[in-house]
Symmetry: C2
Subunit: 339 residues, 2 copies
């Protein structure tokens, strides 16, 4: 039996998305097919559509913030049942046996399989993944809003876990957008003193509502100077050049400035303030399946959901136009209406 999957695909770089059908072939013994109910839109979907990273193949089907129901499972998949509500994020497979995978760091596997690279993603009736990367959704998590947790959410949640951010810490979030707004919600629930850094005064009130204890205009150098030595952890969610030195100086001794935004331009850091304050600069990608499960449990317990706007999947091009306008507050989710 081979299902025909209906999807929306880009036929070339920067093309609009048009209906596209494909047949996925036989299901592997450790694989799962998911009937897509909702799929978030991530900025990296746009980067892949536009072939910004030079590795897109066309027709290209994006979508890697999937929530849906298990349609079928391979014979070796024991932890899922057909009909169960699940999620799938950026990563859909890994080698499962390298040192990273065996250590629980599947997200750092050198042979990681991404959901939308050299395979088709979740802007479709169905998407396929290795079973280990298909995560059951806790009952208390709203399936309609959960999609963005699986890429944007885990990207900001993972470093909180990896670097041992503590509820007693002073933390900062740079950029209040798709990722940053989730970072504010997580860090607020984590118990931290949370400062939102934004260059947009219009986001001040929203940032406070999202969980920030205070908001700092990062373009105000006097305000930045006052914060010198304050922060145990600052996460940057933007991918533009920043005044890195001002953020390094804002770190407390032993503090960490962490980027999840893949800035193209090299980051220039002066050694002296890093040395004198024993400070670190670092980066990280998404998170491993176990950390995703931990995030979902935490989100359920604290009633954390991404702030979302909905489009029917049939209006996917309108949804991308909205993303490109920079006006999304804060994450777009497509409701599947493909017939």
């Amino acid at each position: 039996m081979s299902t025909t999957i209906k999807a929306y695909a880009a036929t070339a770089a920067k093309s609009p998305l048009t209906p596209f059908e494909y047949t996925p072939g036989p299901l592997g013994v450790e694989q799962v097919d998911i009937d897509v109910t909702y799929c978030g839109i991530c900025h990296s979907d746009l980067s892949m559509i536009d072939n910004e990273w030079g590795m897109s193949a066309y027709p290209f089907v994006g979508g890697h913030e999937v929530v849906g129901k298990v349609a079928s499972i391979g014979s070796q998949v024991k932890h899922l049942k057909v009909g169960q509500t699940v999620g799938l994020g950026w990563q859909s497979g890994s080698c499962m046996t390298c040192h990273q995978c065996m250590s629980g760091d599947h997200n750092l596997c050198p042979n990681s399989q991404a959901t939308i690279i050299q395979r088709h993603g979740g802007f479709a009736t169905q998407v396929r993944a290795e079973g280990a990367f298909v995560i059951p959704l806790p009952e208390k998590v709203d399936p309609a809003k959960a999609g963005p947790l699986f890429c944007g959410g885990i990207t900001v949640f993972n470093p909180i876990v990896q670097f041992g951010v503590k509820p007693t810490d002073s933390v900062g979030v740079i950029g209040i957008g798709g990722l940053g707004h989730m970072a504010l919600k997580f860090l607020h629930a984590w118990g931290c003193d949370v400062v939102a850094f934004t260059s947009s005064d219009s986001k001040r009130d929203e940032a406070l509502q999202l969980g920030a204890n205070s908001v700092v205009n990062s373009r105000n150098s006097a305000e930045m100077q006052k914060l010198a030595g304050s922060f145990n952890f600052i996460v940057s969610t933007v991918n533009v050049k920043l005044d890195w030195e001002s953020y390094i100086n804002a770190l407390a001794p032993k503090g960490r400035l962490h980027t999840v935004g893949a800035i193209a331009e090299p980051v220039s850091l002066t050694a002296f303030p890093l040395i004198m304050g024993q400070r670190s600069f670092s980066g990280s990608p998404i998170g491993a399946p176990a950390t995703i499960q931990t995030m979902l449990d935490f989100a359920a317990r604290h009633d954390i959901a991404p702030t979302t706007e909905f489009f029917p999947m049939s209006k996917i091009n309108d949804a991308f136009d909205h993303l490109k306008s920079g006006k999304a507050r804060y994450r777009i989710v497509l409701e599947n209406d493909i017939k």
Copy 2:
């Protein structure tokens, strides 16, 4: 009673060192005077003599790798006795009550007092310090060779402790000199797989003897490329610009590139390899008194001593000429012969 201290001082930037006498004034209740027996020479003594950092005052007395005997103690000093063999490093005081000091991170105190900044150091018959920064020398540590542990040694030992380097880790040491040679000895005893990075083939055999399991010529890009993804921790002890990307790429997932060398030129890092491998770049200065004590105990147990060359203190200018020649193997110690 006020002792006259005989010292060697620079009278101006880059001047030779000449005999100089001063009277330290009354001893504070928490202070200690040390009769200097040995004093190591650190490159930062030269930087201060030459006023490289623009904060030297003349006459300037350097010397902050001191080993000697307690000459007198203030009334509130309870942990030391007159006549006891002790050491003193870069730091001679701190506020003792800020968050850093109260957390055991005296080395990160914003009001840290350095032994040779705005006060006179150990190229002298006596040096004074706050009692908490005067560390008893374990019996099994050779006083003649111990001086360099108190600045160069703790500078490379401290990050091993701070960042939880494990005996199962693969580690690298960049630069096999005054600091690097001690890093090799410590990391070898720590149980790690140790690689020495050097641009000098002449140091290959010595690096192996010092504790490296293998030696890599950092100028050989093919050799560097082969090491991609290998290291959990690399410590750089040099203060010149490096090919940072090649070292970041040599890090295993979750690896850390750490500098204790205060490179003047900004360090340029590409975000993508940091993000994909969850890697960190960081720096640190010396170490706190408790960490110095831990280092001394570890050095005693593993029979670790700096590799030293000796000069009488009366030949201090010859000793500095030897330092400047770059031929010191690996750390110079002055034996006090001031009458």
